[in-house]
Amino acid sequence: MTTTGTDWRQAAYISGQAADARVNVELETEGMTLNIGPQHPATHGTLRIVCRLDGEQVIWADPACGYMHRGYEKLAEVRKYPQITTLVNRIDWLGSFANEVPFILAAEKLMDIEAPPRAQWIRTVLFEMARIANITLFLGDMAAQLGAVTPVFYAFRDREHALNLIESATGGRFHPNYDRIGGLKDDLPKGWIDECKAVMRRIRDFCDEMDDVLVGNEIFQTRTRGIGVIPRDVGLEYGLTGANIRASGVDWDIRRDEDSPLAWKDVDWKVWTHPDGDSFARYWVRLQETREATLIVDQLLDGLPAGPIMAKVPRIIKVPAGEAWVHTENPMGEMGYYIVSKGDIGPFRVKIKTPSFNNISITPWLLRGVYVPDVITILASLYFILGDIDR
């Protein structure tokens, strides 16, 4: 469209051709273009990364997204508010419940209603359960990318317990659709709290296992330490959030730093950061966060207030005109919804800000100059979900 665009494409083409034609005399290697994906175990879906290689070194990388673009922002404009939770469930499908919460909170903010305390606490419990179910898989999967198979089985084994709990409370393993404007669909089932505490113990055991098996492992450390270093300011400029930016030493967690109707302020917990900004730091921070999440859930279950789980809301939900932005600290990072309402039964415009989109947008910068095996480590440690990039 613009002339600058054409120039850029020409430049990219020429440099690519030059890379392809370049022969490293010393090592006798030739440049080449390598397609990683769309179907590759390291891509958690269908992200394709086009890499221009010089020998084993990446000189240019371009992620191609859109294989799973579902147009939720457009679809949300022709749906009613309560129906949209079904859509947003499918954005980050490993921690679905956490996607519903900010949307519901934004709608509640515009309607100026607040769910009763018990609903807020159960929301927080399930939010952290979603975090556990999501990050547990990461903790095992990262090892799988490095060629270690055992941790991923451990991860699937223990995530199953968390998913079973989510299912028994909400009715859905992956897509709970449990949050409602003004409260929740149901109360927790009988005996759920005791089961949940047992599962939290298991998850903590799993974290200890990962500590023993992986974090202290020499091979793991060599493959991840000093690989894919993101400096603080670059990470912020690219809009990195969540564990990715905390691993670069930014002490920022929306759960702690901002007023939220959810119950994080009522329990005692800690935000973990790491100064290194490399793949190891990102793994380490997530490991600590999972452990912290289990502690949050334990405390919340101990103090769960009694009372109703649904505020009084009109049966036909019309959201007053206005604009609201609500974001929360989701498993992948900051997720937010910018809702524009015109007082209708459906939103006028919903901007869905997903963490993985920002997290992956740094890859062209980050992958320049790294070696091919490290591409996989770095992508795995940035941790993205395709539905979260493409929406």
Partner: protein, 246 residues
């Protein structure tokens, strides 16, 4: 265009009620943190600020599109908005009627995009707006946990604005998305090409006049769950009024 705007707009803009459908009638305590942000933005940008609103623990600032890049630079350097959150667009054409049997009706309204349709009114949102298109972005200060939403009106015929890439590198993909979904052009962006859609795709899907084909053939079945319960009509009336008032 911009000169005509700046002649009329800057003074009445902050008090302009049109943008504030959500204006707080109960006059909450002044948000000092965000007021200070707005003051320093005003000191730097002056007349380029066309509208602003502080409500409900949030701040919206609408700037002239000529000052779009400057606004980002000021926010980053002076206000400590180090984190780039998102950038996207808005199309203020009226939404299609949700309760109608057919959601998208090509005959209902001339939405050919040739602009200046006298019958069309743009009911713009918080901090106001003059034109059909708006670009808006969210920035965040992770140290103080204060965010800001910046907006700028764009010309309907030629939606064009400066690129933020020189300020925030992360704007790259977001501007590509806004270019693809809304047809905005970002001057200075080195690589405006499709990010989600195939390269040969025509049209800008998130514009309101882009038909959602699936809904054109068949209305969304979820819209017709009007449960025929006796006494439903009264019940429907009361909360609707209450919702509007609150």
């Amino acid at each position: 265009m911009s000169s005509a705007d700046s002649g009329t707009e800057p003074q009445p803009a902050p008090a302009e009620p049109a943008g504030g459908a959500a204006a707080e009638p109960e006059a909450p305590p002044v948000d000092e943190v965000r007021q200070a942000l707005l003051d320093s933005l005003k000191a730097e940008l002056g007349d380029s600020i066309l509208g602003a609103e502080i409500a409900g623990g949030d701040i919206w600032v609408r700037v002239d599109r000529g000052a779009w890049v400057d606004a980002a630079r000021v926010a980053k350097t002076k206000l400590g908005m180090e984190q780039f959150c998102f950038l996207s667009g808005m199309d203020w054409l009226p939404n299609n009627d949700l309760s109608a049997e057919k959601v998208w009706d090509p005959e209902a309204e001339p939405t050919n995009g040739d602009g200046t349709g006298a019958t069309r009114t743009y009911e713009t949102g918080v901090a106001g707006g003059d034109t059909r298109f708006q670009v808006f972005a969210r920035l965040f200060n992770p140290t103080t946990s204060v965010g800001i939403t910046l907006k700028a009106d764009l010309d309907e015929q030629d939606p064009r604005v400066g690129s933020w890439i020189s300020v925030y590198r992360g704007a790259d993909w977001h501007e590509r998305e806004a270019w693809e979904m809304y047809g905005f052009t970002f001057d200075g962006h080195p690589d405006l090409r499709h990010i989600y859609l195939p390269a040969e795709f025509e049209g800008h899907p998130l514009r309101k006049d882009f038909p959602l084909l699936a809904r054109e053939v068949k209305p969304w079945p979820g819209l017709v769950d009007k449960e025929p319960i006796p006494g439903e009509d009264e019940e429907e009336e009361t909360p609707a009024e209450g919702g509007d008032g609150g």
